[in-house]
């Protein structure tokens, strides 16, 4: 059925490659230039997960197709983890191994399973003002990624990283100040709780 005027159905990605898949692939390629092995593994793993999410057939085995668990035990586990993480990240210094264990060993797998669960496509139609908002935020995210990419490429080309700073290089020294680090922890976790809350309306 055709979408009414001013709206657009979004059952499937309309581009050949999903825009997020392109973004993650570019960011993964950036890690080859940066030479950060941890980020290299993380972003190429993300590309693999996104490829699976996008191209696994619709009739896939049940274990790959989780129902939405926004209100179930896993969502509560994630909430409890986030609260525990808040305390740990506030009281532990940056780069602490306890925080690293929580983030990598618990939050990442629980969060990944939680994000995988639920519907595969948005079955609703999108009004024009929504598409406009979606385009702005996509352009904004792509702009940030491209400027970061430019900074990394030029910094490596001229071996002059201070003239071509990335956002990370600018924020890193500030985050060594405890009050700024704690403010960042609270903002980052508030965004996490906001994302959890947003899924209720799915």
């Amino acid at each position: 059925m055709a979408a009414p005027a001013g709206t657009r159905a979004s059952y499937r990605t309309r581009t050949v490659l999903h825009p997020w898949l392109i973004t993650y692939s570019v960011v993964a390629a950036m890690q080859v230039v940066r030479g950060d092995k941890g980020d290299l593994v993380f972003f190429f793993s993300c590309v693999a997960v996104l490829l699976l999410s996008e191209y696994l057939p619709d009739t896939m085995p049940a274990e790959f197709s989780l129902p939405q668990i926004a209100h179930g035990g896993l969502a509560w586990t994630l909430r409890v983890l986030l609260i525990g993480l808040t305390a740990t990240l506030i009281f532990e210094p940056r780069h602490s191994s306890v925080s690293a264990f929580l983030m990598v060993g618990l939050v990442l797998p629980v969060m990944a399973i939680y994000a995988w669960s639920g519907p595969r496509f948005d079955a609703h139609e999108r009004p024009t003002n929504f598409i406009r908002g979606e385009r702005f935020w996509s352009t904004w995210a792509v702009s940030i990624t491209l400027i970061e990419l430019l900074a990394i490429l030029l910094g490596n080309l001229f071996k002059n990283y201070s003239s071509f700073p990335t956002i990370s290089a600018l924020l890193d020294p500030m985050l060594d100040v405890p009050i700024i680090k704690n403010a960042y922890v609270l903002i980052w976790l508030a965004v996490g709780f906001g994302l959890l809350k947003a899924r209720k309306g799915e």
Binding site: M103, P127, S163, A198
Partner: protein, 72 residues
């Protein structure tokens, strides 16, 4: 005024941050033309690939700035 390259990059990041705040505020008051950010997020999270992308990005921003050693 002598602008060095680092200042140009910093100014660009600041401008993008400023644009983000302005559009966040505009979205709250002009919802007929531009939906609020919260509504955009709620709708895009209904698609699995986008949902995974946003959650993975969120996790990385925490890990990168709070746990990892950032090379300069």
């Amino acid at each position: 005024m002598n602008l060095d390259l680092a200042s140009i990059f910093s100014a660009t990041y600041s401008a993008l941050g400023f644009a983000c705040i302005i559009v966040l505020i505009l979205g709250e008051f002009t919802s007929k033309r531009l939906v609020p950010f919260s509504q955009v997020i709620r709708r895009v999270l209904a698609t699995r690939t986008v949902r995974l992308s946003i959650w993975l990005a969120w996790w990385w921003y925490g890990y990168h700035f709070l746990i990892a050693d950032i090379p300069h």
